[in-house]
Symmetry: C2
Subunit: 372 residues, 2 copies
């Protein structure tokens, strides 16, 4: 029998929750950070490494995969899990965010978005129905509704128009969702920086019987205070027994503050992208390995880390690799960063279970100010 999709909250501490999401492909321990595997690869990492760090789920991007290699191609090859050699859960976004930020010559109407590929200029159409079809072809375990995500700041009128359109697209997405056993569809709360719009969106979506709910449009340029204010309003309105996913967020500090507000899932390119640009995230804070101060420093990033990349290579060597543009520099720093993000989430889960999440946040945050 296929394991049904189910969310269990084992412990709470204030608004923070620790639990697990069951899927046919495995259990996702929450709060969870999902490494981003845009084009069917978590950049500069072997999939086995990602798993060994403790990641239970990765994210794939519908927009990138529909353009290359194509959803039908991935389906013919046995689905995205097999294609990218990742047999564990995968969440796919709907393509709505990237189509507005990456594609060329976009035309948006009630039906969906017509656009040109940023890769080869070819013409494509994404609608709620086609987005869900693509996510089904990929074999995604958690599929996101098609939505329109506006860039902040924007007028309330614009945020309202996009939120209402996203609600209509949510209904169409939910209806189009294939509903294969154990797979899930998530709705996405929109509404820009407007409390009223966020409330309206959260309430309307809650009535649509999605398997989980995301908060979208909060990694698009606004200050952290706006994001946290929106979470304070939205999270209590979402069904307590279903997963809550904050899309595209964020820094270690963003994560802890959002967990404190009841968020269960995150994805962000920050640890992987930063790793490719010479930035390391560790227990002691952020380290820019490009800086000349590291050129003669024999110390590793963190001698007590369980991650070999943080433990077994000097800052001087990492500096050298970064300055030389060596691939190994990107490999090691991506590894360091994903290891730290997973460690941060594992610590949060344990702290919530022990009802000492406040202490954990305070100690962790204090650690970032330590000498990096």
């Amino acid at each position: 029998m296929t394991t049904p999709f189910a969310c269990t909250i084992h412990a709470t501490d204030g608004a923070a929750r620790a639990g697990e999401i069951s899927t046919p492909r495995g259990t996702i321990r929450t709060p969870a950070f999902m490494p981003v595997g845009t084009a069917a690869t978590v950049k500069a990492m072997y999939p086995g490494q990602v798993r060994d760090l403790g990641a239970d789920i990765v994210l794939g991007n519908t927009y990138h995969l529909m353009l290359r290699p194509g959803a039908e191609r991935v389906a013919e090859l046995g689905g995205l899990h097999k294609f990218m050699n990742w047999p564990h859960p995968i969440l796919t976004d709907s393509g709505g965010f990237q189509v507005m930020s990456l594609a060329k010559l976009r035309k948006l109407d009630e039906n969906g978005v017509t656009f040109q590929s940023h890769i080869d200029g070819s013409r494509h159409v994404l609608t709620p129905e086609r987005s869900m079809e693509i996510q089904g072809l990929l074999g995604s375990d958690i599929q996101m509704q098609f939505d329109e995500c506006v860039k902040l700041p924007c007028s309330d009128a614009e945020a309202e128009r996009a939120m209402r359109l996203s609600l209509r697209w949510a209904e169409r997405s939910r209806k189009a969702f294939g509903g294969e056993p154990g797979r899930a569809a998530f709705g996405i709360v929109q509404g820009g920086a407007s409390p009223d719009l966020r409330v309206e969106s959260a309430k309307a979506l809650s009535d649509m019987d999605f398997h989980g709910y995301a908060v979208g449009g909060l990694a698009v340029g606004e200050p952290q205070e706006v994001m946290l204010a929106m979470l304070d309003i939205v999270a209590p309105l979402l069904p307590a027994g279903k997963p809550r996913y904050l899309m595209g967020v964020g820094s270690p500090d963003d994560l802890l503050k959002s967990v404190a507000r009841g968020i269960d899932m995150f994805d962000c390119v920050m640890p992987t992208r930063a790793g490719r640009h010479g930035l390391a995230y560790t227990r002691h804070g952020r380290v820019n390995l490009r800086n000349a101060v590291h050129a003669g420093d024999p110390r590793p990033l963190d001698p007590d880390s369980a991650c070999p990349a943080a433990r077994d290579y000097s800052r001087a060597y990492l500096h050298h690799l970064v300055k030389s543009g060596e691939i190994l520099g990107m490999m090691l720093l991506t590894w360091v960063n994903l290891a730290y993000y997973q460690e941060l989430m594992a610590g949060a889960r344990a702290a919530i279970a022990a009802r000492r999440f406040g202490d954990y946040r305070a100690q962790t945050t204090a650690g970032w100010a330590g000498r990096g």
Copy 2:
């Protein structure tokens, strides 16, 4: 007591030799292929992976390392082995080849070469004495004499001038060699495509009491027949009890044909560079993953390989990664290629020991013609 540098030949089959070279940092099984770690990294590979493939030794480039991060810097940090997290033997070249192929505004005279860095235009001087000093600072286990390597084809007069200069530089290099316990210095036979010059060079160097001998100037544009003809002439003139190293060579076919002529050591950027450009070397021949024919091919490169990269990922996925410019594509194909080069050498060692190297060459070569 420090293990002395020593070469033992355990078995021969025709001119082919199998044996081992003892060094304080470990034993090098021969014939050996040395992965190239130009800037203190075998590109796109973790050092532990390189070791796990069976590599006993890697090569570092004096030219690159003297410019960045600098030999004195590496020495302050505990030497090249510690710097790059590779505790096993390292051979360094002398810088002679790269200074002529990469540096700008070169001026060569009896003393050495004055040049500008290709990185930042800074001015540097390399002489036999400075090259050996740098290799000593790096802590190299096998240090190469400083030589002048001419590009083929060239006139016999030019080849003769460079060969004679290289002999004088060999004497100065041998004298300048630090001679730390267990470390070795190798001379380099030059002479272009001229049998007479090669004979003169080999004989003169044999009298200089180096710990091993390299054949240089044969990966610089000449046809394979010229290379093999030079090896036929040079190898029998070199001391039988010392290692023989063919510099900068080559393809799998080059390697087997050179082993058959008595060569013990090789280095080449081919497997690593090809891997970064979408080319795979396998038992079944060379595969260009860029080709569209692979886009829908669910087969791995070699289902029977011990290398996960060759066994666990479809050609369709590798094609996708290469076309998308993903770092993982370079990581996987570099891994495939270095694994195959090490497998090829391990097979050669076993075949020589069993006195069936001719059969091994024939079977291996026939395999390359199989459907890749």
